[in-house]
């Protein structure tokens, strides 16, 4: 049995890079240091592996690539979507393909933290890398997120329990506050749980901003939280040495969305008049920060980018996948390392089964079920190496621990690009 150290897990944005993976041949036998989600990722790597097929008929990878290239080179308004559960070199290639065919390219951010990105684009963000939180944060606020279930090792690696340079006693040197609409399993780690009414995040956050300015409010409570509770929370934030606010999809998916996040970012910004306060999104499924990062450096924009005019245009709501599909505009789709069909609202997802859809994925999914072409690939982070970005934009190298019979996402995309390029040239 071979032991591979410092392996990076691509399941969530915590992007732990300290896993020890024990392998025998092409089988993973054991995984150490990983959380329950990470462990499941590695231990099940052989379950439900996708099969190459066109219109449900099993065929060769090569034939699938050819069929994909044909679909994409014929399309007028194709959509390339997904790219969270893969590594950056594949993401690079996906953008190159999008540029080549004049596609819209969008990522799983679209239905996850895209409101956060839009909020940051509007007001900025006072943030930091996770090590700053580990070494300095004496007050942690988790708002509308549930790290215990979505980012299990966040608490132990970066935020709640680790001993840091300026917080040498770890948890004892920190206070933890959880704000949510329900008491999630994350509440166990918190010193205080503040329950707010669903859909009232904006009201609560903006009321806190007003209180911070010294304004008095003419109400007794906001979002079910007494003003006195908000004032004491503010007092804690103002008097801590280094406060760190984390938010999740409790803000981004609830009524208000990007505006909820904006209110939180502005609160954090305003708090910097008193002390150091940072705010960070709890990002990541997989390497979703990676695709945002690479897209940004290649096109200037993090998601919802359209290249049909031969240059990048960005407009969430126009070039974001749910909108493109709900408007029935896309005439072909390439879904890479994501399960669009399962994650999109049904009425949007159904358009995928109306148009030629190509799925590139290591695993079977609801999308592969309806896809015209299915191209299985080696799973990034298990059978394909590369690069990933942690939720705080820190790049982490990704290892390969076992072989796969299939090519990597990068390789498949490279081959599609070559084929598309020659088809387009022949046509001109």
């Amino acid at each position: 049995m071979e032991k591979i150290s410092d392996v990076t897990c691509l399941f969530c944005g915590v992007t732990c890079d300290d896993l020890e993976v024990f392998v025998e041949g092409d089988t993973i036998k054991e995984v150490k240091n990983a959380c329950i989600l990470g462990k499941a990722t590695f231990m099940n790597h052989k379950a439900d592996v996708a099969i190459p097929r066109i219109k449900g008929k099993e065929t060769s990878i090569e034939a699938c690539i050819e069929a994909s290239a044909e679909i994409l080179s014929q399309s007028h308004f194709p959509l390339i979507y997904g790219l969270a559960s893969t590594e950056c070199n594949a993401q690079r290639k996906a953008i190159e393909l999008a540029d080549l065919i004049g596609a819209s390219i969008d990522t799983t951010s679209s239905v996850c933290h895209s409101p956060s990105l839009q909020a940051i684009q509007t007001v900025g963000d006072s943030t930091c890398t996770l090590g700053e939180i580990k070494n300095r944060a004496d007050l942690l606020v988790f708002w509308g997120c549930n790290p215990a279930e979505a980012h299990p090792r966040h608490f132990t690696r970066y935020s709640v329990t680790p001993k840091g340079y300026f917080v040498p006693r770890g948890k004892k040197d920190r206070q933890v506050i959880l704000v949510d609409v329900r008491k999630t399993p994350s509440a166990k780690a918190a010193d205080q749980f503040i329950q707010i009414r669903p859909g009232s995040d904006y009201e609560v956050l903006t009321a806190m901003r007003a209180l911070l300015k010294g304004e008095e409010l003419e109400v007794e409570e906001v979002g079910g939280v007494p003003i006195s509770t908000l004032k004491s929370l503010l007092e804690k934030l103002k008097t801590c040495k280094f406060g760190s606010i984390h938010w999740g999809m409790g803000l981004t998916m609830s009524r208000g969305k990007h505006m909820n996040v904006m209110a939180l970012l502005l609160l954090a910004r305003d708090l910097n008049r008193f002390t150091k306060v940072v705010a960070s999104p709890m990002r990541g499924h997989g390497n979703v920060v990676g695709i945002a990062t690479v897209l940004t450096w290649q096109t200037g924009y993090p998601f919802a980018v359209n290249l049909s005019r031969g240059f990048p245009q960005y407009n969430p709501g126009e070039f974001s996948s749910v909108d493109l599909l709900a408007r029935r505009e896309a005439d072909a789709a390439l879904i890479i390392a994501a399960d669009a069909f399962a994650n999109f609202p049904r009425a949007a997802a159904e358009h995928l089964s109306r148009i030629p859809t190509i799925a590139i994925d290591a695993k079977e999914s609801m999308t592969t079920k309806i896809a015209t072409v299915v191209i299985p690939t080696a799973q990034a982070g298990i059978s394909a190496p590369g690069l990933a970005y942690r939720m705080d934009h820190i790049p982490i190298p990704v290892k390969k621990v076992v072989d796969s019979p299939y090519p990597s996402d990068q390789e498949v995309l490279k081959r599609i690009i070559e084929k598309v390029r020659s088809k387009l040239q022949n046509r001109v």
């Binding site: 150290s5 410092d6 990076t8 890079d17 950056c88 690079r92 190159e96 540029d99 990105l117 940051i120 684009q121 509007t122 007001v123 900025g124 963000d125 006072s126 943030t127 930091c128 890398t129 996770l130 090590g131 700053e132 580990k134 070494n135 300095r136 690696r157 970066y158 340079y165 300026f166 040495k241 280094f242 910004r269 910097n272 002390t275 150091k276 940072v278 945002a292 990062t293 940004t296 450096w297 290649q298 096109t299 200037g300 924009y301 993090p302 290249l307 005019r309 031969g310 240059f311 990048p312 245009q313 960005y314 690069l387 970005y389 705080d392 934009h393 820190i394 790049p395 982490i396 190298p397």
Partner: protein, 541 residues
């Protein structure tokens, strides 16, 4: 094989000032001669110069990309459509990676140094640089607030600080040591700054002065090709010229490069008393050849300011009320981004504009002062030709001076300066000088053995037009641009220093590293497999 004939050649490192000279190229290098079968470029009526070298620009890295992410409204102002050869892109003040490569090439620049990379972001920087085509590139590693360095200096362990620096440069594939607001950025992590060279850094019993002198000494002891590259304390603050002069004094006898000195040449005790102290800074440099500077000229209009100097960016955000992005980088550095508009009629901005030009014009030795806008802090690099025109054309300069806020006419010496740069001097401040200061011996000149990075400009009266319309750009002897069209999607090299490895020392830092960092020690260094093409400059200690 290629031969460029009949060109008017400006090659200051070889003392050639406008003479007609043949340039022969083989295997990407300049050679003595090539056979008659070589392809010929007739450079009649063209000016031949080595490719431009930007000694200080922010084109790649965590902060640059965060800036891109922050400003979709900026990208909409300039789109770069794909061609059959090139990729598409966007960006006015913070171009996307491909666009950056193309835009520099269109100005005749062939080598660009990314000026501030926090070590943990080095891998990211290199990945981005891999997607920055056409140009050769390298990056400077920020060390002035590195907590390992601070701890070593606190304990008086100079050698460890030196060995750590050597290890870090190897691990990050950096080219030079960068210092940004030494001590101030560390203090910013709890919301504070330092106000001068002798303030204490929080939690670390050291001063900015100690950090500066130690890193300058380390730079010397490691025999790094470039001097220590410094962004002084108190950037942007009225009266900061004193800090700048103190920094220069403190480092006398050492090889130093002060960057974007325009932002550090301010008089006055507050904003209303804001004044130019460029003459004082220039005077010092005229007496002290140990230091080089780049200017950080400002350009009127929109830009995006971005720097590791977090505390300054917070101040600028409060002044400008524009959106503010800040990201502190664990154990190493910080980063702040604020959009900004320089306005002709704003007297502070107008005087900043004048200060930059005064520095160019009052520093007598062009080998000491280099072109930069501190892209994009003072403005986008695409305005270099405009700056060249301001330097070469007194009338044009006077016209501009009359247009901006009247305090420039009244309160600065700029209107009285008659100096006009020659093409030879322009060649120094845009290529030969930076190459020399960077220790890039095979760049910035057209002598035998040099990289055949060559640009041919049309001879035009309007110098702005001349320098924004190269007729040919050659990279390693290949024509990559002709008449404004990019002919080849060239992959440039990443240049970094390679220091002798010190295995024993790695164990020394591993413990602390594992305690305080959030990435594994083995995953931290950037390996050679990262690079599309690279060139290491071996340094022996």
């Amino acid at each position: 094989m290629l031969k460029i004939i009949n060109g008017e050649v400006y090659d200051p490192l070889n003392g050639i000032n406008g003479g007609i000279k043949e340039i022969c190229i083989r295997d990407g290098k300049i050679v003595d001669e090539v056979p008659n079968t070589a392809k010929i470029i007739d450079a009649s009526n063209l000016v031949v110069m080595p490719g431009g070298i930007d000694i200080h620009s922010h084109i790649s890295g965590l902060k640059v990309n965060a800036g891109r992410g922050l400003r979709p409204e900026d990208h909409r102002r300039m789109v770069i459509p794909k061609t059959r050869i090139t990729r598409s892109g966007t960006g006015y003040t913070i171009p996307s990676t491909f666009a950056t490569g193309y835009l520099y090439t269109k100005l005749g620049y062939t080598t660009v140094m990314e000026a501030a990379v926090p070590p943990i972001g080095a891998r990211h920087t290199h990945e981005e640089l891999n997607d920055t085509p056409m140009i050769d590139k390298g990056c400077y590693i920020v060390l002035g607030n590195n907590e390992f360095i601070l701890r070593y200096l606190q304990k008086g362990e100079y050698e460890k600080a030196r060995d750590y620096t050597a290890w870090l440069l190897n691990a990050t594939k950096g080219y030079a040591i960068k210092i940004v607001n030494p001590g101030g950025v560390e203090n910013w992590k709890y919301g504070q700054d330092v106000s001068g060279l002798d303030d204490k850094v929080n939690h670390f019993d050291v001063t900015p002065r100690q950090i500066l002198t130690a890193l300058a000494q380390i730079n010397q002891d490691l025999h790094l090709p470039h001097g220590v590259h410094i962004h002084c304390n108190n950037l942007g603050v009225p009266g900061n010229y004193r800090t700048t002069l103190e920094t220069l004094h403190a480092l006398e006898g050492k090889r130093v490069h002060l960057t974007h000195v325009q932002f550090h040449s301010y008089g006055g005790e507050n904003w209303s008393g804001f004044a130019s102290k460029a003459p004082e800074i220039a005077e010092y440099l005229n007496q002290h050849p140990h230091a080089t500077i780049d200017v950080g000229q400002i350009i009127f209009g929109d830009t995006t300011t971005m720097t590791a100097d977090g505390p300054w960016q917070y101040r600028l955000h409060k002044i400008s009320e524009k959106k503010w992005y800040n990201s502190d980088v664990e154990l190493e550095s910080g980063c702040g981004i604020v959009p900004y508009v320089y306005k002709e009629k704003n007297f502070v901005n107008a005087i900043q504009w004048a200060i930059g030009l005064e520095l160019f014009l009052l520093i007598k030795n062009p080998w000491q002062v280099f072109m930069s806008t501190d892209h994009p802090n003072g403005g986008p690099f695409i305005f270099y030709p405009y700056i060249i025109r301001l330097l070469m054309d007194k009338n044009f300069r006077d016209e501009m001076t009359k247009r901006v806020h009247k305090r420039v006419l009244k309160d600065t010496v700029l209107p009285h300066i008659t100096r006009e740069y020659s093409l030879y001097e322009i060649a120094i401040i845009t290529r030969a000088g930076p190459a020399k200061a960077l220790g890039l011996t095979h760049k910035g000149h057209l002598g035998v053995g040099a990289d055949a990075d060559i640009v041919l400009y049309p001879k035009l009266e309007n110098k702005e037009e001349m320098f924004e319309r190269p007729v040919y750009v050659l990279k390693e002897g290949e024509v990559i641009l002709q008449e404004g069209q990019i002919l080849k999607d060239w992959t440039g090299k990443t240049i970094f220093v390679e220091l002798p490895e010190n295995k024993a020392f790695q164990n020394e830092i591993r413990d602390d590293f594992e305690k305080y960092y959030t990435v594994e020690f083995s995953n931290y260094p950037t390996g050679l497999e990262t690079f599309a093409r690279y060139e290491s400059v071996k340094v022996s200690i």
